[in-house]
Amino acid sequence: MGSTSWNLIRGYTILVYLFMFTPIIVVMLLSFNSSQFGSFPMEGVSFRWFVELWNNDAITRAFRISLALGALTALLSSTFGVLASLALVRYDFPGKQSLSTLLIAPILVPEVVLAVALLLFLRWLEVHKSFFLLLLGHVIFTLPFVILVVQARLVGIRREYEEAAQSLGASPIQTFFQITLPLLLPAVFAGFLFAFTISFDDITGTLFWKPGGIETVPTQIFAMLRNSISPEINALGTVMIIVTVALPLLGAAIARRFGSASSE
């Protein structure tokens, strides 16, 4: 009986993975198809659709916006994330528990709810949609990830390092830059990449928050899909997959390098 149930589980697992990855592989393969129609059998291999992507102003614009948005989001989220983690781990103040819950809440609330809530709130404040609002939304949405990663590492950094540094004459700020931040760096870096990838990938919140005339890559794909299914979209999908998979892998590799250098 053992072997049959194992075989069942194995078969089932394989099916799940096939189901998840086949569409991705199909998209990536078809992006190299030279034919106008995105279907098998492939007629030949070409980079035609990537070239067209490159020449499509709307898409390159969306790409630049996504990059800028992702980078700014990551920068702000990791800065605030580090500060918030320090406050939550190293200091005691009234309302600490509530603040912690509030900062983590965005990953517990469905994204649509968060998106609508923020939009309504800003309507009520009579603030118009803008790139800044979009950025704000992304920061709120990515902050919990940074905080969770950074907090976990900060808890593991013994206070004595900071106390020793201060006893030797370093002010609290010097101690932060000399001791805490370097020891925290792998986590900050991981948080930064997390924030970037999540922002780069996001569509739900972005659809609600983006002002007219601004498209990110995901909303651009979404808009293009409404007209027709062009092979260009396959190429764009391939680029997205590479960016969102390669970046975290790269990040993990760098973090590992950092980690091993400091414990050598």
């Binding site: 004595e160 390092y161 020793a164 201060q166 006893s167 030797l168 004459g169 609290p172 400091s262 050598e264």
Partner: protein
């Protein structure tokens, strides 16, 4: 110079919410003195040390370093050397940079910095480790580097919180000697925290025995060992026999009547504030009970008869568990030729001058 006060604790109190971790504590530490806070875990040693360091604010009272009140001075302006139980070397900095760390915040030229770091590493006998990283050193080596890092800034006071507790037994004894040598050589005022009486007795100029947030006794190692001022100190340091009895002072001679035993002679100097008929606790160290097969008549000593229940043989010495008059006693004697045998009857000699009288437990 020797009488100059380096650190003064003036009625310092530390409360955590409703819990009092340190009751009003008064202490003067002289320049160059090695003072140890000794007591069981949780008695407030670390809390007191952290107040001196500036890592905790006292709830009441003042801390003075070289006659200057430092209560409101943040830790990084106090110029103190701090060494922790777990070394706390910066893992991302080389040994050189670890030791040099404090000098970067002081007005020190590049050449002088290099020289002082090199000298400090030499002092702790680790001259060739400058380029390595903390994780590449053993625990004992890391603790030496931590010590070098603390003393290289020429601190006004060196504060050590159980610095030897993380090391294994052999290393601990070597480091004890080493630490004392360095402290002597530099003449640096030192506060040392430990729960290990052997460390305290071996290293200190004075020991502050603490219990439950209170100072029980302050004195030289010999004073706290031979003349404990409370039952707590008598029990915490070494092995003591404690008998309760009634004081009997007749025509200049002093003795204590203990139920089931004869009167035990006590040196008249022990009278202190006691009066005839008072209840007292009689404290006799285990090594001061001498067992013998024959009765030795001697002035100023009491002979008891007892029975050896168990012998804990330790090579050069033995610990005996003896009953006398219904009381269980411990004796710790050097072995001359043969240890006294288990199950035999013995004579126990107690010299009057080895008896200490204390207030009985309330």
């Amino acid at each position: 110079m020797a009488d100059k006060v380096a650190v003064k604790l003036d009625g310092i109190v530390k409360r955590f919410g409703g819990f009092v971790a340190v009751y009003e504590m008064n202490l003067e530490i002289r320049e160059g003195e090695f003072v140890t806070f000794l007591g069981p875990s949780g008695c407030g040693k670390t809390t007191t040390l952290r107040m001196v360091a500036g890592l905790l604010d006292p709830s009441n009272g003042d801390i003075l370093v070289h006659d200057k009140r430092v209560n409101d001075l943040p830790i990084h302006k106090r110029n103190l050397g701090l060494v922790f139980q777990n070394y706390a070397l910066f893992p991302h900095k080389s040994i050189f940079d670890n030791v040099a760390f404090g000098l970067k915040y002081r007005d020190v030229s590049k050449e002088e910095l290099k020289k002082r770091v090199t000298d400090a590493l030499e002092l702790v006998q680790l001259p060739h480790t400058a380029d390595r990283y903390p994780a590449q050193l053993s625990g004992g080596q890391q603790q030496r580097v931590a010590l070098a890092r603390a003393i290289v800034i020429q601190p006004e006071v060196l504060l050590l919180d159980e610095p030897l507790s993380a090391l294994d037994a052999n290393l601990r004894e070597n480091m004890r000697v080493e630490l004392k040598r360095i402290q002597d050589q530099l003449g640096i005022t030192t506060i040392f925290v430990t729960h290990d009486q052997a460390e305290a007795l071996a290293m200190s100029d004075r020991i502050v025995v603490m219990s439950d947030g209170r100072v029980e006794q302050v004195g030289s190692p010999q004073e706290v060992y031979t003349s404990p001022s409370s039952l707590f100190v008598a029990q915490f340091l070494g092995n003591s026999n404690i008998l309760s009895g009634r004081l009997d002072s007749k025509n200049g001679a002093l003795s204590v009547y203990v139920d089931g035993l004869d009167s035990i002679q006590v040196d008249p100097k022990q009278l202190k504030d006691f009066r005839d008929g008072d209840s007292v606790a009689l404290v006799i160290r285990a090594e001061k009970l001498t067992l013998g097969e024959a009765k030795q008549d001697e002035d100023h000593a009491t002979q008891l008869t007892g029975h050896v229940d168990a012998v804990d043989y330790q090579g050069q010495a033995a610990r005996y568990f003896v009953t006398a008059g219904g009381h269980s006693l411990q004796a710790f004697n050097q072995i001359d030729q043969q240890p006294v045998k288990e199950g035999t009857d013995v004579h126990i000699r107690i010299r009057a001058r080895d008896c200490v009288l204390l207030e009985p437990e309330a």
